[in-house]
Symmetry: C2
Subunit: 199 residues, 2 copies
DNA sequence: ATCGGAACACTACGGCTGTAGTGGGCGGTC
DNA sequence: GACCGCCCACTACAGCCGTAGTGTTCCGAT
């Protein structure tokens, strides 16, 4: 649990606690009162920050988008001149972080993604953040000589997303794969996309 | 909604309705009374078939495993002699079906996968079904000359799973990709795994 | 110093959910 | 034909959830 203790506004504290709760107990465990309790706030606090459930979900999604934006920020993106290896390294690192340090955030994201299916207002945040990331990725694979950038970006994102989902929601194994394995698979993928043959 | 109308036992009707509800309204929308109503059964029926919520979830997961087992049955698997193209075709077809005809089933599976994180009893069904499918896939990629079958199977499954999740829970686009695109990407993946270079 | 407003703590309530209990009808058995 | 057991419809109830309302406290502006 353990959301921020200081320095952040009350709304951020509520949002972070909501995300932690989402990761731990799912959508069904996210209630106004549960957030109050988990955050150590007096009863009614969450209700005041976000009166309706819809508002609470939007608060959580907005906060999630904020925190993930920092992780996938341009500074974290590799230099195009680092080529295939640079991109593979950067993506492997981001994936690995999502499964370790930011595991709760990742899990909360999947919970909310499913919910966003039924709440169009939530979709907006996902769509814009996702599109921005994909645009940057498109530029990178194009620079690498991709023969079909749009399809290749979708493929890359799907691969990473599927790996993360499986690790976090346990389709195959609870252990996170070693960064080397992730890098190896990513290199393979990228090589296939650029027509290069593996070593 | 429209679950079965005849021929199936009451328990199956309840389970199918639960799965449909899960796809449409998520875990929060799955309640005993909601199933009664959606299935057109008198109040209390679902409660009798599965008294506790845990029992209802297990019923749904068991039914899901049954229905998916038919889809991913050995008969649907390609003949190893059909080679790379055969495997790519089969996987593309299965993926495409999961996104069209069996879309609700796929969505329900993701809902339950997230819930299974917190309910170990549900995990068992996923684990065994998944392991069986992966074993068959391992044999196929090995026959194709994969240089690292275990990792390659994980990679293939992650790719397909990620694509399906994105299409169903809308990370990038609600439209399902054309089967040709799916096949193209799969061929690329498989070629990379077997060291073959794409034409 | 006073006023106004915002953030906050607390209470209330209608509705829904999970689960237990109870009686009735129906089919198979001696 | 009488009996027994199972499945089923229905009711009951306690707990929790979302949301509205109300009074209070605190702070900045005047």
């Amino acid at each position: 649990m353990a959301a921020r203790t200081t320095g952040t506004s009350r709304a951020d504290l509520v949002a972070d606690t909501a995300l932690a709760l989402l990761a731990e107990r799912g959508l069904r465990g996210l209630t106004h009162r549960a957030v109050d309790e988990a955050a150590g706030l007096p009863q009614g606090s969450t209700s005041n920050v976000a009166r309706t459930r819809q508002a609470l979900l939007e608060l959580a999604v907005r906060r999630l988008a904020d925190r993930e934006a920092r992780v996938l920020s341009p500074e974290e993106m590799p230099d195009p001149r680092d080529g295939l290896e640079g991109l593979a390294d950067a993506l492997a690192l981001a994936t690995h972080r999502a499964l370790t340090r930011n595991r709760d955030l990742t899990r909360a994201r999947y919970e909310l993604a499913l919910e966003a299916t039924r709440r169009p207002e939530l979709r907006a945040y996902y769509d814009t953040a996702g599109a921005r990331f994909r645009d940057r990725l498109t530029a990178l694979v194009t620079a690498l000589g991709s023969t079909d950038p749009a399809r290749h970006v979708l493929s890359l994102v799907a691969w990473a997303e599927g790996l993360m989902f499986a690790c976090v929601a346990g389709s195959f194994h609870a252990e996170v794969p070693s960064p080397e394995q992730v890098r190896a698979s990513l290199r393979e993928l990228l090589e296939a996309m650029t027509g290069r043959t593996g070593r």
